[in-house]
Amino acid sequence: MTIANRYIGAAIERVEDLRFLRGKGQYLDDLSREGLLHAAILRSSVAHGLVRSIDAVSALALGGVHCVITAADMGGAVPRIPIGLQPLPVLEPFHQPVIADVKVRYVGEPIAVVLTNSPAIAEDALELIRVDIEALPAVVDRRQAASNETLLFEDAGGNLAIRYTASRGDAAAAFEHADYTRQEGFSAQR
């Protein structure tokens, strides 16, 4: 039995193209609802540091600003972001907070969220928030991390989150009988 198909090998026109080609595409930014607020996130410009203070008084005084949310507004422990792929208990001490609390650990980490009447006001409000961060040494490579001279998560007691090996088949025998072997070290940017 054969089943006729209309797709494979055929030039298929996309149904969504018409609105895009006519300038009628709608995106998240086009969303407008009653009472809609816009958020902007103040992010760390420091790779590693202690958050000494966050002063949002001027930002809150700006017209159209509803609130500025920081870790202090979380009411207790700041929630941590779980690891979706292979969640393991050993990784939990290294889970990052949803918003920086006592420390920042990378450039771009969220420090404060402003909610305002418009995106423009949100951007302006960010510039009015004063953050005092005491910079700590940044840990930028594996060897420096392995030395444990600078800890990112003090409670973990070290920078090594997990050590594991993976193999498939009889790798040792394959290397032993190989005509040529070579050993290399590889590094990734993260």
Binding site: A11, E13, R14, E16, D17, L18, R19, F20, L21, R22, G23, K24, G25, Y27
Partner: protein, 83 residues
């Protein structure tokens, strides 16, 4: 771009974009279409290098640009026929 086609039919340029898959998310498409329309209205003989040069002010993160240039090349014939 809303004023480009007043009836149900796509203009040849819009149709070429659809035919050549010169759009995916469509966010950059109005800018691409209007820029290409302005170019072909003035220079219906524009070659690929010229089209790339003129479209270079518009960013597209979906297509890789090649289908857009192909679509504009394809639409040139319709602009040549104009009075």
């Amino acid at each position: 771009v809303e004023g480009l086609s007043h009836d149900a039919e796509l203009t040849p340029l819009q149709a070429a974009f659809r035919k050549h898959h010169a759009l995916q998310c469509g966010f950059c498409t109005p800018g691409m279409i209007i820029t290409a329309h302005a170019l072909l209205s003035a220079e219906p003989e524009a070659d690929a290098a010229r089209i790339q040069e003129v479209l270079s002010g518009n960013l597209c993160r979906c297509t890789g640009y090649l289908p857009i240039v192909e679509a504009v090349m394809h639409a040139r014939a319709a602009y040549r026929r104009r009075p």
